[in-house]
């Protein structure tokens, strides 16, 4: 049995109709007058879309901002890799879109596990984001007449996605980065690159600073402030193999969790169906092939598991177009979670292709026959080129081989309507929080959320906190700072002291396999229980046998990785605990015990329509579950069906 807190969490969502509360609330929140803003310092950790946008906007308002990132430049955060686009309810195509429809689609796409009020606000400010980015010089695709262009994306029946070729994330991030660098130049933002946050400093229960490691010199630094804004992304790398950048990690969030911040819905992970499969045990990451390919590609496996013919020699009657067979109305365009599970089912049953048996075909033969190679090249040329670079196979001639891969994490630190965690003064933005995507995120919504939080939410809500809180000056030798510094130092010393025989990566791969096997696309009670035991054993081995060479006083990438993997070793257990307690299937969380006769996900609204926010009591100790009940007065829950 899970230990459950008696009181439910207060999300601080104001009373009133969902389409009015943000406007009213902006009036009700306290302001910091312009002359006083310069008296406050705000720390922003991470410089992706959320962090870059927040640092720029807060600097423009007059706050003193200290921004941190672990990369060598703030322009490199993994937001940069987003390909497809960003949603907004502009309704430029005149095809029936509205703020309400974007709100509705996002709540439904999240399988009714997101907070309605946050999602409505997201839909509301989506249009401001497009305006802001356009004004910054982001080169969104245009029609010949010069107006902004839109395309379609999964989970919606309107064209509302704005894009910059296949590099939308890059262009939006560079827009935010440039806005932030302007503030750096003006002296309002101080940029600290190659810094990794290792501890949160709390004074009287309020977040007041961080301890970071300077990755170049190895020196630990204390930075104090009046508020801390965490924009540190998702935790997909707990699986080792994912589409995330190699540096993505849970450390900043996890250190805050260990200081008392609740971690919400960690089991909600998104597995993207169209990625290039693993080719060998040296594999370091997985590469996404855009969802758009499923518009023209047909997914299939041989009907005979022992069919060794080349794909082009297998006639149609011997092919199993399993998505078209199982979901005749949506066919190859079912949502991500459904397509991923169907591929897994075929491979688990022995029908997978390639040497590993862990791949299915994505075939463009019929599309090329119908539309001609030139048309297909115009639509997908860059993706075909990338596929060919990686696999040395020509997808114009032979079908692509694809397999699902971990892509995004909907869970994150719990935040209220102000995007503040349960620790006063600690705000969490973007993928690092849990609030907007429920149990499954729709395509082109991650960029929207990061920029919404950074440009249009935090500038208002942080003022309310700063205006109301009592924030005495904190000297750097304050006991809370000294303690945090010592904790960070101790952990590094411990990692360096093990001097075992195994590399950090070997532990990380092993953890990743456990997570993938038992807490991946499909989960069971017994599998999760097994995983928890295996993770505990592995964690013990890690602390006895990991080998980190060199010293803590220089650039030392093994040490950086060791710290992150150590945190993943603790975090992975919480993911399994959360997945174990959620006795239902919803969005990216599929419990095999909870499915319909046809093998579809079965939600349990009566018992699980809540946010699960976990409070830690230390490593290996049973956490406490805090519930935030969810209600859907505006978008009544229904079963998602794609038959």
């Amino acid at each position: 049995m899970v230990r459950v807190a008696s009181e439910t969490l207060n999300s601080r969502v104001p009373e009133g109709p969902v389409d009015e509360i943000w406007d009213k609330h902006r009036f009700n929140m306290k302001l910091v007058n312009p002359a006083n803003k310069r008296k406050f310092t705000v720390i922003v950790v991470g410089t992706g879309l959320a962090g870059g946008a927040a640092a720029a906007s807060l600097g423009e308002l007059g706050y003193n901002v200290k921004a941190f990132c672990f990369q060598d430049s703030p322009r490199r955060a993994h937001s940069i890799a987003a390909q497809g686009g960003i949603n907004a309810a502009k309704n430029y195509p005149n095809d029936g879109d509205s703020v309400w429809r974007l709100f509705y689609d996002t709540v439904k796409g999240g399988d009714y596990r997101a907070r309605e009020a946050n999602v409505y606000r997201l839909a509301q400010v989506s249009n401001n984001i497009i305006d802001q980015c356009t004004a910054q010089g982001v080169p969104f695709a245009r029609e010949y007449g010069g107006t902004l262009s839109n395309r379609s994306f999964g989970g919606a029946q309107v064209s509302r996605t704005f894009y910059c070729r296949g590099q939308t994330g890059q262009q939006l991030l560079l827009g935010a980065y440039q806005a932030m660098m302007r503030q750096v130049h003006l002296g309002k933002v101080q940029m600290f690159a190659r810094r990794e946050m290792l501890e949160l400093i709390k004074v009287d229960g309020v977040a007041r600073g961080i301890v970071v490691r300077n990755l170049t010199t190895g020196k630990l630094e204390t930075h104090t402030a009046d508020a801390v804004v965490l924009c540190t992304g998702g935790y997909g790398n707990v699986y080792y193999l994912s589409t995330n950048a190699k540096g993505c990690n849970v450390t900043a969030s996890w250190r805050c969790h260990k200081q008392g911040a609740f971690f919400a819905n960690p089991c909600y992970t998104q597995i993207h169906p169209t990625c290039i499969p693993v080719s060998g045990d040296y594999q370091s990451k997985l590469t996404l092939m855009s969802e758009s390919l499923r518009n023209d590609g047909r997914v299939w496996v041989p009907k005979d598991a022992n069919d060794t013919r080349k794909p082009s020699d297998i006639p149609d009657e011997d092919r199993d177009y399993y998505l078209e067979r199982r979901y005749p109305s949506f066919g190859n365009l079912v949502p991500r979670d459904v397509a991923s599970r169907a591929a897994k089912e075929r491979c688990d049953s022995g029908f997978g292709v390639s040497e590993t048996g862990l791949a299915v075909y994505l075939d463009f033969r019929d599309a090329i026959k119908r539309d001609g190679e030139d048309t297909i090249r115009r639509k997908y040329g860059n993706l075909f080129h990338m596929y060919q670079k990686i696999t040395a196979e020509d997808p114009y001639k032979v079908p692509m081989k694809i397999f699902p891969a971990v892509h995004y994490t909907m869970g994150g630190l719990w935040v209220d309507y102000h995007l503040m965690s349960n620790l006063p003064g600690l705000f969490v933005l973007g993928e690092a929080n849990f609030s907007d995507h429920g149990a499954n995120r729709l395509g082109a919504s991650a960029l929207m959320q990061g920029l919404s939080d950074g440009y249009f939410v935090i500038p208002y809500t942080i003022g309310d906190h700063l205006a109301k809180a009592t924030l005495p000056k904190i000297p750097e030798d304050h006991p809370a700072c000294v303690d945090a510094m010592q904790a960070a130092k101790l952990r590094i010393d411990q990692l360096m002291a093990v001097q075992g025989s195994r590399t950090v990566d070997s532990f990380h791969r092993e953890l990743g396999l456990i997570m993938w096997d038992h807490c991946g696309m499909a989960r069971t009670k017994s599998g999760l229980e097994t995983a928890i035991g295996q993770i505990r054993d592995l964690r013990e081995q890690f602390w006895q046998d990991v080998r980190v060479l060199g010293s803590g006083e220089t650039l030392n990438q093994s040490l950086e990785k060791a710290g992150r993997v150590a945190d993943f070793m603790e975090f992975g257990e919480l993911m399994c605990v959360d997945a174990l307690h959620r006795e239902e299937s919803c969005g990216g969380h599929f419990r095999e015990e909870h499915q319909t006769a046809e093998g579809e996900a079965q939600r349990n609204d009566a018992d699980f329509s809540y946010v699960a926010a976990w409070e830690t009591h230390g490593v290996g100790e049973e956490p406490t579950l805090h519930k935030e009940p969810l209600s859907f007065p505006n978008v009544p829950p229904a079963t998602r069906s794609y038959k």
């Binding site: 080169p139 245009r142 594999q283 590399t503």
Partner: protein, 254 residues
């Protein structure tokens, strides 16, 4: 070819820190799968080094899909290696032959000091952007996205320049270690778009001044930068930068 493996000699630049003297060291690596990416090959080397008690080779990398611009490396004297329009992380070992010796160095430029081994400091690029690589529009000040039409050909030109990933290959490939391609890409993107017109003059003057201050060399139009650029940014942007610079100098009387 799926089971092909390579035996390689890797000649890698090792340097303890910014102030120490570096040197090449040779490493033998056997059984390298041709399906590996170049960085995965270095991962395998590092696993072996750690197991044998030698400190691993430090190198910058992050997204491993060719967009973040963090990976670098001179590979056999070429920035990002032998393939066109390809970052080091997208380069695969099938491009090499059994028995090859591969020479791996950091970017070499005064303005990019070595931090350790193959890692260099490219913060000069951030300071150049800070000097003017933006449109000064505070959050909340924007008109409707469609208020200013931008012909799609103009937008395409801007996008071609905006595709720069800020990796620094242009500097590393240039015999003068010039940053002109990088600077011209941002100047061009914002000079051709109507949103960037208001600050057109100050932008180019300030960015070029910062570039000079950082210690980058001058451009002598050898176009090595374009050949090395993984994002295929064209040297025609440098021509535009020169025009913008002259224009701004005349208009500001400088």
């Amino acid at each position: 070819m799926s089971n092909d493996t390579l035996n390689l000699t890797l000649r890698i630049w090792r340097q303890e820190n910014a102030t120490s003297t570096g040197a090449f060291r040779d490493y033998k690596l056997a059984g390298v799968s041709t399906h590996m990416s170049f960085l995965e090959m270095l991962d395998v080397l590092n696993e072996q080094l750690i197991t044998s008690g030698e400190e691993p080779v430090e190198f910058d990398h992050d997204c491993r899909e060719g967009i973040c611009g963090m990976c670098s490396l001179m590979i056999n004297g070429k920035a990002h290696g032998p393939d066109n329009a390809t970052t080091t992380c997208q380069l695969h070992m099938r491009r090499f032959n059994d028995g090859d010796t591969i020479v791996i160095e950091p970017w070499r430029a005064t303005a990019f000091p070595v931090v350790r081994d193959l890692v260099v400091d490219r913060s000069a690029f951030d300071r150049i952007i800070g000097a003017g690589g933006y449109v000064s529009v505070n959050t909340g000040n924007a008109p409707d996205g469609n208020a200013i039409p931008v012909p799609s050909t103009t937008q395409e030109t801007a996008m071609d320049a905006a595709a720069c990933i800020g990796c620094g290959a242009c500097v590393a490939a240039c015999k003068n270690a010039s940053a002109m391609l990088f600077v011209s890409a941002k100047v061009s993107q914002l000079a051709v778009l109507p949103q960037g017109k208001a600050e057109r003059n100050e932008r180019v003057l300030n960015m070029v001044a910062q570039m000079d201050k950082e210690g980058f060399g001058h451009c002598t139009n050898t176009s090595e930068c374009e050949a090395a650029c993984p994002a295929e940014v064209s040297v025609s942007n440098i021509a535009r930068l020169n025009r913008e610079y002259v224009r701004a100098s005349l208009m500001s009387g400088g």
